[in-house]
Symmetry: C2
Subunit: 516 residues, 2 copies
Amino acid sequence: MTMVDRVPGAPDAEVATNHVHRARRLGIDTGQEPVVYLHRDSIVCRSEGFGSEIRLWVRRGDRAILATLNVITGSLLAPDEAGFSEAAWSLLAPRADDTVEFAHPLPLDSLSHVRAKIYGRRMDGAAINAVVTDIAAGRYSDIHLSSFLTACAGDRLDRQELVDLTRAMVTVGDQLRWTHPRVFDKHSAGGLPGNRTTMIVVPIAAALGLVMPKTSSRAITSPAGTADAMETLAPVALDRDALQRVVDREGGCIVWGGAANLSPADDVMIRVERPLDLDSPGQLVASVLSKKVAVGATHVLIDVPVGPTAKLRTLAEAEAVSDALRDVGGALGLEVLPVITDGTQPVGRRVGPALEARDVLAVLRGEPDAPQDLRERALLLAGYLLELAGAAPAGAGQALARSALDDGRAWRKFQAICAAQGGMREPPVARFTRPVEGTAPGRVSAIDNRRLARVAKLAGAPGDPAAGLELHVRVGESVAPGQPLFTVHAQASGALDYALAYAARAGDIVRIEPLR
Amino acid sequence: MTMVDRVPGAPDAEVATNHVHRARRLGIDTGQEPVVYLHRDSIVCRSEGFGSEIRLWVRRGDRAILATLNVITGSLLAPDEAGFSEAAWSLLAPRADDTVEFAHPLPLDSLSHVRAKIYGRRMDGAAINAVVTDIAAGRYSDIHLSSFLTACAGDRLDRQELVDLTRAMVTVGDQLRWTHPRVFDKHSAGGLPGNRTTMIVVPIAAALGLVMPKTSSRAITSPAGTADAMETLAPVALDRDALQRVVDREGGCIVWGGAANLSPADDVMIRVERPLDLDSPGQLVASVLSKKVAVGATHVLIDVPVGPTAKLRTLAEAEAVSDALRDVGGALGLEVLPVITDGTQPVGRRVGPALEARDVLAVLRGEPDAPQDLRERALLLAGYLLELAGAAPAGAGQALARSALDDGRAWRKFQAICAAQGGMREPPVARFTRPVEGTAPGRVSAIDNRRLARVAKLAGAPGDPAAGLELHVRVGESVAPGQPLFTVHAQASGALDYALAYAARAGDIVRIEPLR
């Protein structure tokens, strides 16, 4: 989280009130938005004219946060008390009865740039910097963030705006520095349930001598991000120093990027992208590349899956995003290699954090029932990466990757990475499972990635790591009536019911054509 | 407020949980967004897998509301209790210890239309209807509303989309029916502080026999809406029946539109337009005309002020909006007469609800120091309206209006309307006032409407009805050093300081050019 202002105090609070309140933890979980509660008869509310739905600075010693005000009209608080939501409490970290002070924030001048963008004007570097600085400092409310993301979505950022946005997102966070001249990274442009190749590519690459400090995000609109899946096997919330130690020892890591303060504005924007279910190409380019520049990468392989229900639906879209990634990366000193891949159906058999981790383990351990599509996809990407690194001549990368996977080097490296990150563990298993069956005989003609992902999310993924689903069929296979098409996994019976009800209502998530 | 579902129960909640909780009013004012609080160990949270930041249906008897969930981790609630924010409590209206039930809402399918719009596709009538229906039913969170408004802003709606949006906004609310064949209305496209002509035009028109059921909005981005100013003189929150009675008796009324459930989606959208400070031309057309159609008007005069710091900055913009108003109105059976007016400086001398009401009273009473610009502007508009109605031949409207104002008929009608609305009262006076003085001699060359409005808002308007400012100079006048340019009025000393600090920082709100 990046709501804490780095500079001690609240430099952009113009009028300090100096009215002191006693801090009380109210035990209210308001999600990521910090909320502070004050009685309507408090000195602050009376003398400052605060109303509801406004934001204000709260300061304790040299720490200050921007929080949303809720006014208490009942007896929950005394007039000299200040209540804190869980997010606000953990950001400001007071002890009970510590005193806190309040101040008005300055008007948010950078919103004028957002309005100009809405009205079709372009933003220059200074405007973008001002917006991103305010976002990273937590000054944008959800309403402001939603408007900024919407105004930039749908190809409304030109190439230079994208470069400026990406650079601004790097600048407002920390950056990792490496002594190695070449540092590798990979990313998937997403939209494909179960596409967990990172957890296979990194150990292959690291086993073959590449330096690969991989930071991943949690799910934005998908049922699981790589960080969510990896977390079911080992700790991922490593800070910068811990990350550096793991990479120094093992050559690679697979951690959550959020704890390292790399591109913190991206982490803030994610909290709005999720409810909007919006992850536009421009935002994708800025989000991906800002993390890569911040992590200190010099060479980046990007998996760009294309399919009618993947994030990128047509080859033309995928090529446009690839070009943008290459151009914007180049402008920022990154060599980017986009690899357009098949995105017509989910990868592997399982969807959801723990379930996807099981697919990865099966591939790394060389188990006979390991999903071949996940294995082959990981080898394809690892091959390109090895060629990009010069570790294998053109055309020989895949064979080299295959040897490191088949002879157990990748699996040993994965275990070593897990141990270095804090210790390997078993992924959790869901309490409830129920199959969804086909009703008529036929052949599977298509699988709807988006609706399948929604079923997994309604079942509880990624919040419940054990939740998700297992696919039992693939495109082209024949099915009989009553044959299970997929099994839903959930930790709560209500979530299971909800996912199944949606699956029944949505219809044709697995499309079956009659046999002729 | 329109969060209450009209159909008893929650028809779009697919999975009822039937877990009963006791209702508790927590006395937390969360603004307009209804919030429900449940303990993390409650049956609902445990068995349904609810997390924070989700929305759910809460039902009591035949009433149901959609509320945002905050999870209680402390001892504020027992596991079988359900806490309510003030907004949620007043919408659901339980008694203490009433039992309530919870259910998951269906996924918000209409968001796919918003996403399509973001990506540049147009919305057909069915898509727009689905979005507006969900908005009026309170199914859109602030994040969703912000995205929809941003996606539609900046001329991204074509003429047919605007017609469909306006019609949908009418359809989801109530509509007034009149036996009179011709029903008149007026509106100002806004952006001009102090432009309170409605409160003068309505009594003139009604005194001369026109039927004019005027509903006004509260301020969106300005320091006062007509409803805010009128409310300092008489009750304005009249329901449909009361409105009808006032108009039957006096021929006209000046009430707040929100209580009559006319175009309720518009009222929901306003809560996001305000923090975004965004009020785009397309949204303006749909907002204005949906209210006019819903109120049963047949002829509408629209004041379109133009000036460098008014909402519409150029004549071209004003003409584009005028064309859109005429076209969209015509498609919906309304005769619309846009009148482009001077919007280069504030109207009248005072800005803020009670202060603007005082300017209006001075004009109606014919006081010698009444602001002439407000008086002349109201007469111009009343004249056009009387000509539109056929009450005066072309070119003779203003003279007719002037006679009704000068001989006291308009003032008597205004008092009668106030009495019919519930009784006339004195507007409040602010506790704190402080002048802002000029520093150098010169001539006033410009007044910045936007910054001036911001000073009034920072002083507390429109939340504090007495807050705002009084202007002491007009464009073209000479000023001496130390001469007061404007006086800030506030109810709280903190708000006064804040407004003055902004005025000092913003500089040149009243621009003074050296005398030559």
